[in-house]
Symmetry: C2
Subunit: 137 residues, 2 copies
């Protein structure tokens, strides 16, 4: 299966932006995304740790943006919920009898970092407000 945390997070954040500054609960978010509240809450923990959302416990609790949508960039959301690299890296220890196998790991690692830095720079140019505007247009 594919990791959907970033698209789901963007969906969550856009929903919150749309209702800002009201609280929205995980049940409502789950309905919109067609998933279960528990999964929403797990993702919200990451978004909260990154300072992007606030969650309020208790009977009238819920979730809201921690800052204005125009002050949240997409790379912040991406970083908050993604721990894998954009390009896959092999995890086997290289065959030590082969010069290529020994050297290719570092090359791939550096290449991945370059691609990822670039993608994040690109994502940093779009704000959550941009996304909301585009969705509502």
């Amino acid at each position: 299966m594919v990791d959907t945390r970033f698209p789901v997070s963007l969906h969550i954040m856009t929903g919150l932006a749309n209702h800002h500054p009201d609280l929205v609960n995980s049940e409502q978010l789950a309905k919109s995304i067609q998933t279960n509240p528990s999964f929403i809450r797990k993702i919200v923990v990451s978004l909260s740790a990154a300072g992007l959302v606030e969650s309020v416990r208790g009977k009238t609790g819920g979730i809201r943006l921690a800052k204005k949508a125009k002050d949240i960039t997409l790379d912040q959301i991406y970083r908050a919920v993604t721990d894998t690299t954009l390009l896959a890296l092999p995890k086997k220890t290289p065959n030590k009898t082969c010069a290529i196998a020994c050297g290719i790991g570092n090359v791939l690692c550096q290449l991945t970092r370059e691609v990822e830095d670039n993608a994040l720079k690109q994502l940093s140019k779009k704000t959550l407000q941009d996304v909301l505007n585009q969705v509502m247009a």
Copy 2:
């Protein structure tokens, strides 16, 4: 599990570049990458369809680059073996009662395309020869 076709392909191609224009068989490549010959051959089919390698059947057969390493760019390798998008896209039909859910799909799709175009443009600036040089340095 993670899709390792691109890193494995880069490894294969670098190995072939190093022995160019000699034939290398799938057994040798599998040893270097620590996988099985069948998996190598499956990937080689894709690389071959993209015109990046040639394979020769029969007793003295094997695999070699179809052109010089300096004329092969990394985006060509990536495209040859990758059919997924760089960022995940949700595949559920959106909740039609929610404006956000209805609009977010297109936004994500466009965003993914932008990020991917950019990454491929970046990969197109590096040649297989560059990778071989870096590995051997």
